[in-house]
Symmetry: C2
Subunit: 613 residues, 2 copies
Amino acid sequence: MTSNISAQAHWRPVPFHQVALADGFWKRRLETLNSVTLRACLDQCESTGRIANFAKAGGSAEGEHKGMYYDDSDVYKVLEGAAYSLMTVRDPALEAEIDRIVDLIASAQETDGYLSTYYTLQAPQSKWTDMEKHEMYNGGHLIEAAVAYFEATGKRKLLDVACRLVDHYGDLFGPDKRHWVEGHEEIELALVKLYRTTGEERYLKLSQWLLEERGRGHGHGAIWEKPDWGPAYCQDDVPVREIRKVTGHAVRAMYLYAAMADIVRETGESTYVDALHNVWAHTVERNMYVTGGIGPSQHNEGFTHDYDLPNESAYCETCAALALAFWNQRMNALFGDAKYADIVERVMYNGALSGISLSGDKFFYVNPLASQGEHHRVEWFHTSCCPTNLVRFLPSIGGYAYALTDRGLALNQFVGGQVAFRLPDGIRVDVDTRTGYPWDGGVRVEVKPEHSHSFPILLRIPGWCRSFRLKLNGEPVLEERLTVERGYLVLDRCWETGDCIEYTMEMAVVTVHSRPEVEANQGRFAVQRGPIVYCLEQEDNPSFTYDAFTLRPDLQLACEYCPDTLGGVTVLRGRDPEGLPATFIPYYSWDNRRPGWMQVWINEKETGAIYTS
Amino acid sequence: MTSNISAQAHWRPVPFHQVALADGFWKRRLETLNSVTLRACLDQCESTGRIANFAKAGGSAEGEHKGMYYDDSDVYKVLEGAAYSLMTVRDPALEAEIDRIVDLIASAQETDGYLSTYYTLQAPQSKWTDMEKHEMYNGGHLIEAAVAYFEATGKRKLLDVACRLVDHYGDLFGPDKRHWVEGHEEIELALVKLYRTTGEERYLKLSQWLLEERGRGHGHGAIWEKPDWGPAYCQDDVPVREIRKVTGHAVRAMYLYAAMADIVRETGESTYVDALHNVWAHTVERNMYVTGGIGPSQHNEGFTHDYDLPNESAYCETCAALALAFWNQRMNALFGDAKYADIVERVMYNGALSGISLSGDKFFYVNPLASQGEHHRVEWFHTSCCPTNLVRFLPSIGGYAYALTDRGLALNQFVGGQVAFRLPDGIRVDVDTRTGYPWDGGVRVEVKPEHSHSFPILLRIPGWCRSFRLKLNGEPVLEERLTVERGYLVLDRCWETGDCIEYTMEMAVVTVHSRPEVEANQGRFAVQRGPIVYCLEQEDNPSFTYDAFTLRPDLQLACEYCPDTLGGVTVLRGRDPEGLPATFIPYYSWDNRRPGWMQVWINEKETGAIYTS
């Protein structure tokens, strides 16, 4: 049963390399990413032996495998990020460095196609004995890197490695062959990418076969035996089409749902649709932090029970927030609903961006919403999935901005820059977007079709936005003449070159409350302005002691854009009931100055007011 | 025990006749008031025999008293309004007409000073036998009219009538004389006005004596015997300094508290202060509608139990909303806190303004927050206190805008126009305010002291306003350099002629919820933007049936100022979950087109959202 709201839209995100960012907010972050973060992560992969593991497995270096069985994936993710970087600025030195690493990876592939340096070096006789050991997870990240590097450079070498690896999977697993439930999802969505790049349907079929393996008792390995964890930890408790609730390890769950959305998209598999809608609602309505963070518990890096969202002990792995964005990007394309892009936005400006320092060389794995002062970013982790996930997410940020709909263009995220694309009917359109987002709700969009042409432009109305104004070529557009569909303003008209949309979202300071079921936030409020969730940090608030103060939920806050503060942020300044100053900064920007406490959810001064807004 | 928050400020409102309105919103309303409403009310007082009652009592006409025992007060209130009108535009024809009525009033005064046409004509032997019969209530309104007419014209005749009447009260009542508890308060605050105009302390003393009579068993009359009503109905249940909760008839209660505030102001009577703070909180935190309406019940024209705020059967007498403003204006001057001006604002743009049609000739006595379509304004009422209260409230609206503080000026309400005043130290200052309020949160204030001079200007930060910006002579003022005191931004500096304040209050569309104790609003929300409470009216919403639809509380609303709609209003347009259009208009402006249903509180579509703002 597919209701109207579930009707599939089959949009196509405009790839980030067609989007020339000219955006004060993101451009600067990406410059740092390219100049600092990517280099730092490559160096870490080198110095921690992650790259050397490939040389060792390939026989060009001596020694044992170093690190964890999933460390190959970090190298792949940095390669993926480097490929994205090369799509924007083709840097020959970087490309030569990647080529060298690609050669090492290729050398590490066994003759039958097998590739996972841990098993090759450490336990070649134990391959495929423990489904938790990330063999296909590594393979999935190899695929994503290979596709990215092929698209960036046209070089097939890594893609061929990936195809050989996947063909090897196909030799071993599948209908009438061995069962396999990959303990950490990733391979499933990667196989769909590989299918899209190569056109080989067997990759798509293998992806869906892997999904269908789950929840049928085929899984086994260390994780399945762990008393608290079991099959639900890696989403092996029910067949995927029967999923209704989010469970277990947060990143794994998100990657699974992302793959399910991909399969619906590519195969029309309608039996997954209800599962996707149900688990989406269960995730975002009961198990998501206001920052877009998910997975409250360190114990299982994942979910516990509904509305369990502690602040200080919030795990909120950076990767989990990113994975939530990956999934929601796919849901948006699949169903054409702005509510999914809202989640992407919540993640990209809050719970994911907090994962990286302004300097670009320090990272959070864990993103709590309160800290007494002991939580700080570091340069690398023993398990370093988060830095390397940021390295591939951030350069592709422009890819979240636009999507091609059936006939036109949707603006999903508001980033300044030029985008060039062809409509489904072949007409080329250039669009130039200017905005002070996320500090200002004004967006100016200049539309330049190659000739006059009728098509719809959809503008997302963010979930946080209660009111907006629209002008077309300087003339206000009345609401009666607007169509709103699935959270988008739809401007369906004949566009002429130079037509200009001025879209002004009212970006008010608001205080936010949780549902009362969220115990941790009872009697507390948070502050948000536009997409940005704010926090108080000790550095700006010497009058207060951690959690030992109250503010009125109707406090007034002066908005001030401070270009020299924290890389340029809008700061909110107000007073406590005693008149002591309270200064809010964006949550993502905390822990970039002297160490100190931080709080997102503030104890609320009971005002007795009969009406609250 | 007087806490810091109770510290008295003793501000002095700048009288409306020093404020030259040049304001799109109010100027138009006042033009209609002067050209239509005042005339209509004078004509009604004539045609219903209210004016003739004075001629009959004075012997210049024949016949019985017509109407109710409190009808004299309507004539006084129209005279008061006419006097205010004359202060702005001295219209000789109107003044001649008022002079004629004043002569009739004076002729109706008995030789001992007694004046109340009902008793003189109908039951001269029964004077002062039933404390409910509004004898001093009529006298109070006579005083207010007399003071106004004296201030407007310098003519003492009506003032002399008033003084003779009050001296007559003093002959009969007071310490060691007869007891009196006036059933409908009004005389008490009027006596303070008379004291301020004449300087006669006995008027002040009589006022306080009358307050002190209450709650001591001295009251008697029809109303005291009524089973459901009793002493609490007219606030005769406890001595005034022991009042903690609002009770009984809403207008009576508000006039009482207004008088108590006056007495604190004039005498320093500290034992009333806690009562005022307590009853204020009890009124606005548990017993006030979002429109500023008060008194839910028709039965007693007043209060029932806490949080009893039904919408369709809301009584919300226009006079009660006005009286709430009168009281809060006094509280603001007494304590210098913006929260009282917030209440004045809530009343003036909502629950009071709804009392009069845009055409100026039709009135609501009852102001419900929901109607199935049968509630409409009419030209006059048998008991017509509400139209005549509006006639005196509206022309004095400019008097709510500014107050002189101990050293400077406070901007309480944002209305465009020029104001000229002298600071307490004698320096003359002119201020020119420009604003698009209440549709726009920008206020530009040009300050012109006669010479450079240091004094504070206080800008109210409205309770609805979460954020604001401030510029001084074009330069942004940082929040750190701002002082906020009791809800005001305090700009204490040396002002030069031509200094310009640009104060921009972020005027966002917000959805408002009641405390859960308000049963009528459970599962409902209202929409507010700036000071304006919105409603849905049938005329704009043909897709909906009364109360049989739901909207999402996070719905998006396009703001559109429509100069030709309802006298110029900002309309909010959105969609229901099915995409059907929903159009909100200001509550005050409903029932000015074809009859139809109206709702302020809208059934909320449960979204399941974990975070709400």
